[in-house]
Symmetry: C2
Subunit: 189 residues, 2 copies
Amino acid sequence: MPPAGDAQETRRRLVEAAYREFAAHGVAGARVDRVAATAGVNKALIYFHFGNKEGLFTAVFEMIVNQALAEAPFDATKLPEYAGRIFDVGEANPEALRLVTWHRLERAADQPPPQAVIAANQSKVEAIAKAQAAGQVTARYTAAEILALVLSIANMWTVMSPEMHLAAPTDPAARRALVVDAVATLVRP
Amino acid sequence: MPPAGDAQETRRRLVEAAYREFAAHGVAGARVDRVAATAGVNKALIYFHFGNKEGLFTAVFEMIVNQALAEAPFDATKLPEYAGRIFDVGEANPEALRLVTWHRLERAADQPPPQAVIAANQSKVEAIAKAQAAGQVTARYTAAEILALVLSIANMWTVMSPEMHLAAPTDPAARRALVVDAVATLVRP
């Protein structure tokens, strides 16, 4: 076994290479030997570190979730600004949302959803409920509905079809302004 | 060559079988022989009628677009109701939006977007612009931005991740009510 520092570096390089492979080809289409070649490590180390391709995907997915949580800290009293930051994260990492979408399409119905995401959503819903009780956010919708609306609008451009992009403005500043303004309009008390 | 009526029935059965195959496996993962077997026709007829797998996909995609246009007629002066109908179409045909999403992920950058969709979007944008000029729809956003918002919100539940579905209400009537109300709030003059 290589020393611990090397092992960590190997994991990091594999997750990085897998991120691009999964975003481009999905989980079913991803090839483990291509990931190993891109990372410049022996394919056997993928199985050593992650068990199998699904384990490698889980590691990539957790990296994306943690990155989004770090780059867009949640503030239930500033939902328009939060939506703007989520938009920024999506613009800076278009591959991340592609990868999450592949995951949604490919995941078997019997696979449990990632616990990290469930816990993050639950704490956001609770924070929104508090802001509603304090009169800072509209009580017209439930807290969970508000979170669903905010995330859907924040990611609306990133998940949009190329056909729709042809009809709609392509200026990133205008896209961002629309996200922030629409969320502000919907969550106003 | 079989008589014309038979050819039409063969095409219909192939498109129907391909719809399920593409929705389940995406374009890359779809297998033409499985489509032929499900449709109960010789595989050679797929090439005869559609040229190749991409041609078969285009036929399926056009079927979905035409179905959505027929089931949710566009009325720029009744955008909340239109969003509700788009929601209904998505609920009734969950595979259709899966397929459109696969298409978005898999399509090569150099492939032209489907002309039918571009034309449909363009006429909707023009109708919204007229409704804005008549004071029936907010002028706060451009017509294309409004179309993008309406479609994003109408499809928000259909494209939502399973994690988010766990946090948000699962009652279809409540989901539909949110879509209609959010669009009404955003497009009000």
